[in-house]
């Protein structure tokens, strides 16, 4: 049966298949008891939830919040340029800070997962990033199309 696994080279290359290298610790970690490992498992799950929530804010709350702040500045200073500038600079700043924080959380999640007894080689950041983007996109479409409804040009409200 033909394999469609791109890492299965059929013995063409000598050596380990990509992504199958064992974890290399500087020193062999001291193993904890079962209770501690269960607790670490819970901590890892909690970190994963926090990481997911944090990344989800990138796709709605943060842009919306900065647009609101920009609008307030525009209103109080009567300067559209200043409002847009503050909104975009602020948005980029918090996005980068969020990603940095998410990376730290992801690292903590990896360590907690390993402490709970799993051979966790990679973090979950990339996957959560993509999933949260999809969830936020779907949520936006539901809100836009079903709850709020399109603007008057697309679907004029009955007067």
């Amino acid at each position: 049966m033909a394999s469609n696994d791109p890492t299965e080279t059929g013995g063409l290359f000598i050596g380990r298949r990509p992504g199958t290298a064992p974890l290399r610790y500087r020193e062999q970690p001291v193993e904890a008891g079962t209770a501690r490992r269960r607790m670490d498992s819970v901590i890892a799950a909690a970190i994963l939830v926090a990481e997911t929530l944090l990344l989800t804010t990138l796709w709605g709350p943060q842009p919306a919040g900065w647009l609101w702040i920009g609008a307030q500045i525009d209103h109080s200073t009567d300067s559209v340029t200043l409002g847009i500038l503050v909104a975009f600079v602020g948005m980029l700043t918090t996005i980068f800070m969020t990603i940095a924080l998410a990376m730290r959380l992801d690292r903590m999640w990896k360590l907690a997962r390993r402490a709970s007894g799993h051979e966790q080689k990679k973090g979950a950041l990339e996957r959560i990033f993509v999933i949260s983007m999809a969830v936020a996109g779907i949520a936006f479409l539901v809100w836009f199309l079903l709850i709020q409804g399109p603007g008057p040009d697309l679907a004029p409200r009955a007067s």
């Binding site: 974890l23 290399r24 610790y25 970690p29 001291v30 402490a115």
Partner: protein
């Protein structure tokens, strides 16, 4: 262990960190490998290089063929090639399983109980064994400053001397006796004495044509000339050599020939070597002559004595120390030579001539061993 330390111990090493450790280990291994200078073995006179791939290929091709059949007993193709090469008739040539084996057979035929085999000494270490196996007595004639002395040989020739064997160039001294001297010696030998000329290293001499002594077989029926494919052709593993004699000595030559000939694999390799081996041989010969001259020039300002060599080795003697001691000192500099004790003169050592790098190392080792240098730099090794 603190709380954070507990989790930090699960940090893995990233690829760069793992590779850095591997790179450091490789660098240490390379440094150690550079410090370990391999021993340069100049103690044997055979070829250090693998034979020409086409020569090996010819033998392998033969091996994959009809090995259930007997080889050509008279090795006609090789015989014809050698006859054309030496401008002699095919009946005058016999191919055998190495020159030493042919020489041994000739000694069996010519010597008997109570007869004598005469040879200059030091010379090829197998000659005394050949004499004793044939039931004869081995008689030594002294060399004159490392050179074969025809007068000393003639002085030793007696009624029982049935055979004289001369290694030319002489192993281990490397000295060469010219065809004119060989002819003169032959003309003064008694009727009952044969001369066996062992020309294993003749390709490396640059004094006269390499067949100069061989041509004497036309005039002297009691001359046998032995050649080998082990040295200049680098085929010692296939055991092949040949003997050339006078047109009137064909019955003796036929008796020397091995029963049922030489094996098919050897014949294939030798025939291919004769077809294509001349260019490699000439290149090797030029290298040996050049490097031999370099050694001779280098030792001029050293307390070292060396008879003029015409072979692919030199015979060295250092003032005030034995051959064993000189060999030991050279080995400390990672150069191995053959101590002269087992070759006939314990004052000397024999060192093979190879390429320029080997010559550099031999010269450095000599300087170091004789106290002319504190320590040879790594670049010289």
């Amino acid at each position: 262990m603190g709380l954070l330390d507990y989790y930090r111990q699960f940090e893995d090493m990233d690829e760069a960190e793992v590779n850095a450790a591997l790179r450091a280990r490789r660098a240490r291994e390379k440094a150690l490998a550079l410090e370990r200078v391999p021993v340069l073995d100049l103690s044997h006179t055979g070829s250090p290089d693998l034979p020409n791939a086409e020569v090996v290929g010819a033998s392998v091709y033969q091996a994959r063929g009809r090995l259930n059949g007997y080889p050509d007993e008279r090795a006609r193709a090789i015989n014809r090639a050698l006859a054309e090469r030496h401008y002699i008739r095919g009946e005058q040539i016999v191919l055998g399983n190495g020159a030493a084996e042919l020489l041994r057979t000739a000694a069996y035929l010519l010597l008997d109980q109570g007869s004598e085999l005469l040879s200059p000494w030091p010379s090829y270490s197998l000659y005394p064994t050949i004499a004793s196996r044939a039931g004869a007595r081995f008689v030594e004639a002294e060399l004159a400053d490392g050179f074969v002395d025809p007068a000393a040989l003639l002085a030793q020739v007696g009624d029982r001397t049935r055979m004289i064997v001369i290694s030319n160039p002489n192993d281990p001294t490397g000295t060469y006796i010219e065809s004119g001297q060989v002819g003169e010696l032959l003309s003064r030998l008694p009727e009952h004495t044969y001369l066996a000329l062992d020309e294993a290293y003749v390709h490396f001499q640059d004094i006269e044509d390499e067949d100069a002594s061989m041509r004497l077989v036309e005039a002297f029926p009691r001359l046998l000339v032995f050649r080998t494919f082990s040295k200049a052709y680098g085929l010692s593993g296939v055991r092949a050599g040949y003997v050339v004699g006078a047109p009137s000595a064909t019955s003796l030559l036929a008796s020397i020939a091995p029963m049922l000939g030489v094996n098919a694999l050897t014949q294939a390799a030798v025939l291919q070597a004769l077809k294509i081996g001349d260019r490699d041989l000439q290149r090797l010969r030029a290298t040996v002559i050049e490097q031999r001259n370099r050694v001779r020039e280098a030792i001029e300002d050293m307390p070292v004595e060396m008879p003029e060599s015409q072979a692919n080795f030199v015979w060295l003697r250092a003032e005030g120390i034995s051959g064993d001691e000189l060999a030991r000192r050279l080995e400390q500099s990672r150069v191995k030579v053959a101590p002269g004790g087992t070759l006939g003169d314990e004052r000397f050592v024999r060192a093979a001539i190879r390429d320029a790098h080997a010559t550099d190392r031999l010269i450095w080792a000599l300087r170091e061993g004789l106290g002319e240098r504190e320590h040879a730099p790594a670049t010289a090794l």
